[in-house]
Symmetry: C3
Subunit: 333 residues, 3 copies
C-alpha cells in the first residue's frame, strides 16, 4: 500500500486484512516497528482526534511526527493553481507540500471542501492538486468528500461490537448551525455498503447525498451483498436498525448558497437525535458519530451519555485503525 | 500515585519522597525509563514553562508527548455541563477530554479559573468535571486554584538553596494590570505551610486570600510545625524573611467584578517589588516568582537581574520536579 | 562548534567540513547519534521549512524537539530591555529564553528584523540580547540580517548541482507587496562570496544592500578568490550567470518608512522573474529562492515549474545541512 486516500481504493479483502492488522497491533504492540520513521502532518483545517491520534500512533510504533498548521506559526498556503499571490497567502501548496514531503517518510494532509462548487468538491480538485505533488506515502486526513481513516475506524468499531455484517446502518442527517462538508457522510455511506450492510440514508428534503456518492456506495454494496437506499421517513428508516450514524452536512440542493442553506435548515432544528428516535430501532441499536458533536444541537446529552453511544470507541479506534495504516504504508508489509 | 492534582493529596513524607526521586533522576538520568509512554497535554490556557518542560521531561525519560490547544488548530472546547452548543465551541470537553485520554498513557490538563464565581472556582468545578472523565494517570497543569507542579518545583528550589525548613516565607501580592487567578498563591501558600515554614501572606486590603485557602494552609502547617498568618505591613512581614514570593492576583473582596477590581488596584501600582523592599529581610532573602512576570510592573529589573532572584532555578525545577511526577505516575514506583 | 549564528563565524575550511559532514550523514544515516538530546525551537516569526526540517532533522538523528511560538499557546514575549511591561506581552525574553534554554540541550531562535532602524537591525540588537542569555548551543533560525542555515543549505545545493566555485552568482531583488527583511539577501551574498563566486547584486535604485553587508561579503570574497559588485542592469548582470538567486527585500534608501518604500516599489512590479530574464544567462543557469515565494508576483509559474528551478533541492538541503549543524553542536565532533 503506497497511499491511503480512499477506502474504495482497497478491495473488501484488503480492508479486512488491514482491520486484522489493527487488531493484531492492538493485542501485540510493536513499539519499535517504525523506529526512525517520520510522519509529517499538514492541517489546513482544525482537528482534535486526527491530530492527537496520528501523533500518538506514530509514537506507539516507535516513530515520530511533526505538525504544520498554515496560518498558525506557518505561512498561509495558497492552493489555487496559477494564482497571482498578492494576497494573504505567502506560500503556495506547490512548494509547501512538496517541501514537507521531502522531510518525512509519510505525509498526511487535511483539506476540507471549499463548499462552493459541488462538482469541484466531488472531483477532489484541491486535495488532488496537492496529492499529485507527493511521491512519499500519503494519507488523506479528510478531504472534500472523503475521510478514509474515519471509515476504517468505524468499520473496526462495528466489528468490535459484533454488529452483524448484514445489519441495518442508518446514516441520518442531523442539525448544525452551519453547512458542514460531505466528507464523513460520504465515507460512512461507502464504508457501510462495502461492509455488506443494509444502508439507509435518512435525510430531510434538500439534503439528499449527491448521486455520484450514492452510486459509488451502490457499487460497493453490489460487490459485498449489501444495499443502499434513502428516505426521509425516520420511523421507517430506524425500524430494526443496528446503527444510527448521525452526521451534520450542508444542503446539497443549494450547495454553496449560504442563504438558501440557512433557510432550509432553519426549520430542521428538530433533527437533534434524542432517545425517542430509537422507538422502532433494534433493542441494542447504537449511536455512532465521528465527533466533534454539538451537544443538544445535533445529538442530545441523553443519547451521548446513554448506553447506546459508542462515539468514544469510534474515536479510540482512530488510533488502532491508523496504526495499521501507518504500519502498512511505512513497513510496506 | 495515580493522579497529581493537588499537593495536599500527598502526605509530607510522600512529597519528600517525590523530591528525593527528582534529585535522584537529576543525578542519575534514566533516558529509557518511560520508553514507549505517551503524555497528552491539553492546554485551555497559554503556557511556556509547563508546555516546554513537560515535553522536555518526557523526552528526557525516553517517552513522547502531544499537545492540544483548543482554538488553535483544534476546535474550541465547551466545558459547561448541559450546554446547548450553538455557539463558537464545536466540541464538548466530555468528548474531547475522554478521547485524548484514550490515546495516551497519562494526560495533563490546564484550565484556569473562570474568575467570575469564587465558590465555583474554589470548588474546582470546571477542572473536576474534566478530571472525572479521565481514568488514566492525570496531572493538573494549573487549575482554578491549584498548581501542584509549581508548588513541587518551588519546594525543591528552596531545598536546593538550603532555605531552612522553619524559615520565614512571605507570599506577597504584586501589582498587575488585570486580576490574575489564585492558583499560584494558593499552591505556594499551602506548599510553604506543608514544608513547615513560618508563612506570612502580605497583601493590600481587598486582596486577602479566601478563608478556605488560609484554613487549608493552616491545617498543613499544623501537621508540619509551621505557621500561617497574614498582614498588610510590608516591613514587619519582611523582617527576617528568607523568601519573598511575589505573585499577582485578583481582588477577592469583589471577585468577578472587573470594575471594582480595577478601582482597587489602580492605587496599588506601588506594589512592584524593588530592592528597597528587602531592607529588613534576612541578608540572603530570595525573590521567588513562578513566571511569567511583568518586569517593572510586578517586579523591577533591579530585583530580577540581581543576586536575590531565584526565578530561573524555580523554572528549571519545573523540569526536575515534573520528571519525578511522570516517573511515579507512569512507572508506578 | 558551540554556536551557529553566522556563517562568517566559520572559516571557509570549516564550512567545507560541515558540508562534508552533511553529505556523510546523507549517505550513511546515524539514527541514534543524538539519542536523548532535546532541541528547543523558539519562533517569534512564522516558519515552514525551518519548523519542519529542524524537527525532522532531530528525529532522523534520534533526538527530539519542542516548539514554542509566542502569541500562539504561549505568552507574547517582550524583547526590549528595561521595558515597563504594562502592554500585551506577559513575559520578557530575559526570562523566557533563559528558561527554555535550561530545558534543552540546544536552542534555536527565530527573530526577524524590526524593520524600523537599520543600524539596530544591522547590529542584531534584538537577537543578540536573547543570544547572550543562552549558554547552551544556540542556532540562529533567522535573525534581522542573517540566516546561516539557509546559507549553508544553499551552498550545499550548488555543490550538489556541480555549480563551479568561480561561477557567476546573481542575487536579484524581486517584487513583493511589502518590504521584507534583509536576512536572506545578506546571508546569500556572504555565502556566495565565501564560496569564491563572482557575485553580482542586481537591484533597482533605492534597494542597494547596506555598505556593511557589501563590505562583509567583499572581505569573504577576498579570502576565497571571489568578487562582489552591484548593478541595476539586468541583461549585463545575467550574462553568463550560473545562478539567479531571487529575493524580495525592503527599500534600504528609506528603511523603516513604509510610505516611501511603497512608493518606490509601486513601479517595480515588473521585477517578477520570468523565463525571458534568462536570455543572456548560461544555458543551465538555475533559479534559486529560499521560499516561501509568491508565485506570479516575485517569480512566475513558468520559472518555478520549469527545469531551471532548484528551490525544492534548496529546501530539502535545509534538512541535510541542519543535521550536520545539530550533529556538530550536540556531539561536539
Amino acid at each position: 500500500m503506497k497511499r491511503f486516500l480512499d477506502l474504495a481504493d482497497l478491495t473488501r479483502e484488503e480492508v479486512l486484512a488491514l482491520l486484522e492488522l489493527a487488531r493484531r497491533l492492538e493485542r501485540a504492540p510493536q513499539p519499535q516497528a517504525l523506529s526512525g520513521k517520520i510522519l509529517g502532518l499538514l492541517f489546513l483545517n482544525p482537528s482534535l482526534r486526527t491530530l492527537a491520534s496520528f501523533q500518538a500512533g506514530m509514537a506507539r510504533l516507535g516513530g515520530s511526527s511533526f505538525v504544520i498548521t498554515p496560518g498558525q506559526g506557518t505561512w498561509q498556503l495558497e492552493t489555487k493553481p496559477g494564482a497571482v499571490m498578492d494576497g494573504a497567502a505567502a506560500e503556495h501548496a506547490r512548494e509547501g507540500v512538496a517541501v514537507l514531503a521531502s522531510y518525512c517518510d509519510a505525509l498526511g494532509i487535511r483539506a476540507f471542501a471549499d463548499g462552493k462548487d459541488l462538482a469541484a468538491d466531488l472531483a477532489e480538485t484541491r486535495f488532488n492538486a496537492m496529492a499529485e505533488l507527493v511521491e512519499k506515502p500519503l494519507i488523506n486526513l479528510e478531504s472534500a468528500i472523503n475521510h478514509p481513516c474515519q471509515a476504517l475506524a468505524d468499520w473496526k468499531t462495528m466489528d468490535d461490537l459484533g454488529v452483524p455484517r448484514g445489519g441495518r446502518f442508518v446514516l441520518s442527517w442531523a442539525y448544525h448551525p452551519r453547512p458542514l462538508p460531505l466528507a464523513v457522510p460520504a465515507a460512512a455511506l461507502h464504508m457501510a455498503a462495502l461492509r455488506g450492510m443494509e444502508v439507509v440514508v435518512l435525510r430531510p428534503e434538500g439534503f439528499a447525498l449527491p448521486m455520484a456518492l450514492m452510486d459509488k456506495a451502490r457499487r460497493a454494496a453490489g460487490l459485498s451483498g449489501g444495499s443502499v437506499r434513502e428516505t426521509d421517513e425516520r420511523d421507517e428508516a430506524l425500524s430494526g436498525a443496528h446503527i444510527l450514524y448521525a452526521k451534520e452536512w450542508g444542503a446539497t440542493s443549494c450547495y454553496g448558497d449560504a442563504a438558501a442553506d440557512a433557510a432550509l435548515r432553519a426549520r430542521l432544528t428538530g433533527w437533534c437525535v434524542r432517545n425517542d428516535w430509537f422507538g422502532r430501532a433494534a433493542g441494542d441499536c447504537r449511536l455512532m458519530h465521528c465527533l466533534p458533536v454539538r451537544r443538544n444541537v445535533a445529538v442530545a446529552d441523553e443519547v451521548l451519555d446513554g448506553a447506546r453511544s459508542v462515539v468514544q470507541l469510534q474515536a479510540y479506534n482512530r488510533l488502532t485503525a491508523q496504526m495499521a495504516v501507518l504500519y502498512r504504508l511505512l513497513k510496506g508489509i
